[in-house]
């Protein structure tokens, strides 16, 4: 007898929203101590559900819920599990971090509650984004995830955070409107031939073959601009460093780990399908990605603010993912998805390490003002350096394996200039992050010793355990990349299956 999984996708969308409602009820009946526990219990259940769903999907047939146009294939299951597991880790890290922020008077009790409510609503919107099989629903769900995070970015209600939230919402909404335009153009061109099926993501492979080339290119250009806006590629990146640096650190981890990845996910679902038929698209995305990765890392090198530096390096790393997805080949998609998973782990690790530094030093995040923290915060120091080396792409960490797959994929398509730019960017990334790590943990502090360093100590266990889990994952995946192979292979093949559908 086969297990019926079709109830899970819809539940995964509703469940977190239910959690948000429970939190609001807890607050209404003055049980504020329960809020964190409720959020964590709901996130734990969500991760369990998505893992269960994944086990049912990986290597087998996709799960369909036709009434709501939901479809869970290998890629959706991978993204779903990644999202829910990351949200669980981020919430675990947040408990002490946000309590600390509340005690410092940076967030009010009401906003402290709002924080957990919005994270759960965000989880719901993300689950919807990755499970939908409907082009326009994809747009609506992505917009919903933007809106849920806009208030999280502006949570501190300071001048800088309000400005960051405002920029974030304006730029992403304008970008997404462009992608809606692209979707409509493609739908309109395909509708006379295949009817309402033109809206299904699983039928895009068919759409590619029937619509005229110029419409396909125009639609893809609009969608790429929109998704690149969401993902923060140069020249659409203006919101990214501001939003990442002004949001609370766990939210920065979420933005860098999940939100910008959703742009890449949408690209994989739509633009990648068009790539094999049009070499122009491959070149366009490769060029965009190369410019973006180089400018991103150069901007990162000149930053003094740790979080801004990490944010710019995200601009650069998401470009690797775009490069791979734009190639449209198996190896490209495989490498890109591998790097997507790795970058989510690494960036969450790095942003939360910076969060730990800010927790311990009372909010200092300038490299020039920090120094000599290694003795006082050994666990954080180890985790940050592990993340820095992994992001730079050195073996035995996970970043090496996925970047190497991407280099091979670009080489396979004879884009040697892209390989060269990627390798050069990788070296700069390594230099940038290791330098920052060295200065922060072993360098001489710029401020007087007594003034800042006196009562700095390692962060609470609930925080550093999260960092250790992430660092261990980076190492384990780097040492045994084959562990993830079946899942990533299934995900990459599910995209290729859409490509070849209807031929």
């Amino acid at each position: 007898m086969t297990t019926d999984y079709s109830w899970i996708p819809l539940l995964l969308i509703i469940w977190p929203v239910l959690g948000a409602i429970v939190i609001e009820i807890c607050a209404a009946v003055k049980k504020t101590v329960w809020i964190e526990r409720v959020a964590i219990v709901f996130a734990l259940a969500q991760s369990g559900l998505s893992l269960f769903l994944g086990l049912g999907v990986w290597g087998r047939v996709p799960v369909r819920v036709d009434d709501f146009s939901l479809l869970v294939d290998g890629l959706s299951a991978l993204m779903g599990f990644l999202i829910n597991a990351m949200i669980l880790l981020i919430l675990l890290f947040s408990v002490r971090y946000m309590k600390h922020e509340q005690e410092q008077g940076l967030v009010s009790t009401r906003r402290h509650r709002l924080y957990y409510t919005l994270i759960l609503i965000f989880a719901g919107s993300m689950n919807w984004t990755v499970t939908t099989n409907h082009l326009i629903q994809l747009y609506v769900a992505m917009e919903a995830s933007t809106l849920a995070t806009a208030l999280l970015v502006a949570l501190y209600r300071k001048k800088a955070s309000l400005e960051a939230g405002y920029k974030y919402i304006i730029l992403t909404v304008v970008g997404m409107t462009f992608s809606l335009l692209g979707m409509v153009l493609i739908f309109a061109a395909a509708y006379p031939h295949i009817g309402a099926e033109a809206l299904l993501l699983s039928k895009i492979g068919h759409v590619v073959r029937i619509i005229p080339r110029n419409v396909a290119l125009l639609g893809v250009a609009c969608m790429t601009c929109g998704f690149a806006c969401k993902a923060g590629l140069v020249p659409f990146h203006a919101w990214l460093p501001d939003a990442h640096s002004e949001a609370p650190s766990p939210v920065s981890a979420m933005l860098s780990g999940l939100i910008i990845k959703i742009g890449a996910y949408a690209l994989a679902r739509t633009v990648t399908i068009f790539a094999p038929a049009n070499h122009g698209i491959v070149l366009f995305i490769a060029l965009l990605a190369c410019i973006s990765m180089l400018i991103g890392i150069m901007m990162a090198l000149v930053q003094d603010d740790l979080k801004r530096m990490l944010a710019y390096s995200s601009v650069s790393q998401i470009s690797y993912i775009f490069l791979g997805l734009g190639l449209g080949s198996y190896l490209g998609i495989y490498g890109a998805l591998f790097h997507l998973v790795n970058h989510t782990l690494i960036k969450a690790l790095l942003f939360m390490s910076v969060g730990a530094i800010m927790y311990a030093t009372g909010g200092v995040r300038r490299i020039s003002q920090l120094g000599g923290l290694a003795k006082k915060m050994p666990v954080t120091a180890f985790c940050f350096i592990a993340g820095a080396v992994a992001l730079g792409g050195l073996p035995p960490f996970n970043g090496f394996v996925s970047k190497f797959s991407l280099f091979l994929a670009a080489g396979e398509k004879h884009l040697y200039w892209a390989v060269a730019v990627s390798i050069f960017t990788g070296l700069l990334t390594l230099a940038c992050l290791v330098r920052a790590g060295y200065l922060v943990f072993w360098g001489k502090p710029a401020l007087a010793e007594s003034q800042t360093n006196a009562d700095i100590r390692e962060v609470p266990r609930s925080m550093y355990m999260v960092l250790l889990i992430l660092a261990a994952l980076c190492l384990v995946i780097g040492l045994f990349p084959n562990l993830l192979y079946p899942i990533l292979d299934g995900a990459a093949r599910s995209i290729l299956a859409v490509c070849s559908a209807g031929s």
């Binding site: 917009e143 208030l151 001048k159 919402i169 309109a188």
Partner: protein, 222 residues
């Protein structure tokens, strides 16, 4: 009686009202101009539904009235009460701005009208009135982008955003009237949420910065 000619007239009315929403310096009246353009937009949806005998579009028209004519302008007006009534001086003056707009919009309309086949190669889109509707919709979309680029006031930015969305919704109407009602309603509901959250942030921006001039949000230009 509703004819194809009335669709084109309504389209022209939308463009004029949208230009007014952009050019009127008093924010309250600019919002009313937006409201009027939204009423015309609903008129277009109803006439189009009538002409193409597509009943599902009536439901869309009702949602449109609810959202674009009632909720969004109400949100805007409620926020405008808290701030100075006049917008921050834009970069270029009124006369020059109107002159540039007229030239630009005419050019855009002509270009879109001529090259419709390039981006919408369907039989329906190539014939009047859909062809005119589509060219007009693209013009409204460009007007929205122009507003976003040329205005500094937070409210004007929001108006630019909703004008741009109006353009996309008109394109949607012209190219994809076969979409399910639920999808259309989903797209429209997004607009309310965006405007609500933007204004919610703007209220705090005004409280803390003491201005609605987005050019003076320069904390992060480092």
């Amino acid at each position: 009686m509703i004819t194809e000619q009335s669709l084109i007239t309504l389209m022209l009315a939308i463009i004029i009202a949208s230009v007014a929403a952009l050019e009127i310096r008093n924010l309250k009246y600019a919002t009313y101009a937006y409201l009027i353009s939204s009423i015309f937009l609903c008129g277009i949806i109803v006439s189009y539904a009538f002409l193409s005998r597509n009943e599902s579009l009536y439901l869309w028209a009702i949602t449109c009235v609810l959202i674009k004519v009632i909720i969004v302008p109400r949100l805007l007006i409620r926020y405008i009460r808290m701030i100075p009534q006049m917008e921050h001086q834009p970069v270029i003056g009124l006369v020059l701005s109107v002159a540039v707009l007229v030239l630009m919009l005419t050019a855009f309309y002509r270009v879109f009208h001529t090259y419709i086949a390039f981006f919408a190669p369907t039989d329906a889109a190539l014939r009047a009135p859909v062809r005119d509707l589509l060219a007009g919709a693209c013009t409204v979309f460009m007007l929205g982008i122009w507003t976003l680029l040329s205005r500094r006031d937070v409210i004007k930015t929001v108006i630019g955003l909703v004008l741009m969305e109006n353009g996309v919704h008109l394109i949607l109407l012209a190219l994809a009237p076969q979409l399910k009602e639920t999808t259309m309603i989903g797209i429209l509901t997004n607009v309310v949420a965006v405007v609500f959250i933007l204004l919610y942030l703007s209220a705090d921006i005004y409280r803390i910065f003491g201005t609605t001039d987005s050019a003076r949000l320069s904390e992060l230009k480092r």
